[in-house]
Symmetry: C2
Subunit: 190 residues, 2 copies
């Protein structure tokens, strides 16, 4: 059985308020992008299906100069559906951490290459962390208030902690690889 989490992701955003496909994409991109994201190829077809199943209803707002806004609003039936999902326990979190693969097979290369790889990873993670921290400052001042605010805050804290763990690991790994390099050097020069 496939679980179809994108469905619930999209339906979930609509519990926070009505919005368009474009809005939904923006929400992810500007908040928890590194931990959950959806593409248009997923969003638009799913919105249509959710509407057919009466979990959301669609209204069209005309604009001039800009394309119409297709606004989706969650229905009572939709709220029931997502509540059911929210109450089922999360399955095991399996991800694909490419950096680990590149590390594990690193003995194929020199330690210097692995170090460079991790430094690059580290640079990215530093940027992500900074972005998350900027977002944290903006929250409350920003566009998301109401009862979901403390929940969103906790989500950002999650991102922050995980990012920090990555960074601390990178420091440790680089140090360990430098030691390895020194030892290898000894064998060769002695």
């Amino acid at each position: 059985m496939k679980r179809n989490r994108s469905r619930y992701a999209i339906l979930g955003i609509l519990t926070l308020g009505p919005g368009t496909g474009y809005d939904i994409k923006k929400f992810f991109d500007k908040s928890v992008a590194k931990f959950w994201n959806e593409s248009y190829g997923q969003i638009y077809p799913l919105l249509r299906r959710l509407a057919a199943e009466k979990f959301v209803k669609k209204t069209v707002q005309k604009q001039d100069g800009k394309p119409d806004r297709h606004i989706y609003t969650i229905t009572a039936k939709g709220r029931e559906e997502i509540k059911r999902w929210l109450l089922t326990p999360v399955g095991p979190q399996i991800g694909r951490h490419e950096i680990l693969l590149k590390l594990i097979f690193g003995s194929e290369l020199g330690a210097a290459d692995s170090i460079r790889q991790i430094q690059h990873f580290q640079k990215q993670q530093r940027q992500d962390l900074q972005q998350t921290e900027e977002l944290m400052d903006q929250i409350g001042t920003g566009y998301l208030q109401g009862p979901s605010k403390p929940y969103l805050k906790l989500a950002l804290r999650y991102g922050q902690r995980v990012n920090r763990a990555y960074l601390e690991w990178a420091d440790e790994a680089i140090a360990a690889l430098k030691d390895l390099q020194k030892e290898d050097g000894k064998h060769e020069t002695d």
Copy 2:
């Protein structure tokens, strides 16, 4: 352009030594399963393709009572291929952390439900952490020695750090949600 990381995951394992599809699956399952995994539906067809492309070569070992072992060995060409990949910098790590979704939409439910959800998540993470720590003790004594050993060790350290970050976050989140609950209680009873 799609990147096809499974290819490299499989080819990469074979840099550590020859093995069967079954061995490859086992390697992931018993080491970094939470951070990278492959299914048979991915492994067997890919091994065939890698053989057709001369990145690996296949030999068959007959056994009695058990099915034949189809052993794949990486070729020089295969080693070149994976080195190229190892040298290209990692892209942004995007995952799908279901727990965050269930948290963000948590205001649909009561705080108690969110707490229960996170406690369940925490229990799982505790188990994962323990398994990783057991593996760390076994390494060296176990089946993986040689030059890749320090790399594998670092991979396990990664898992450990990330798992700890999850656990610390869970503690924080539960505490924050309990506070929320108290405040809500005040409003209702006052």
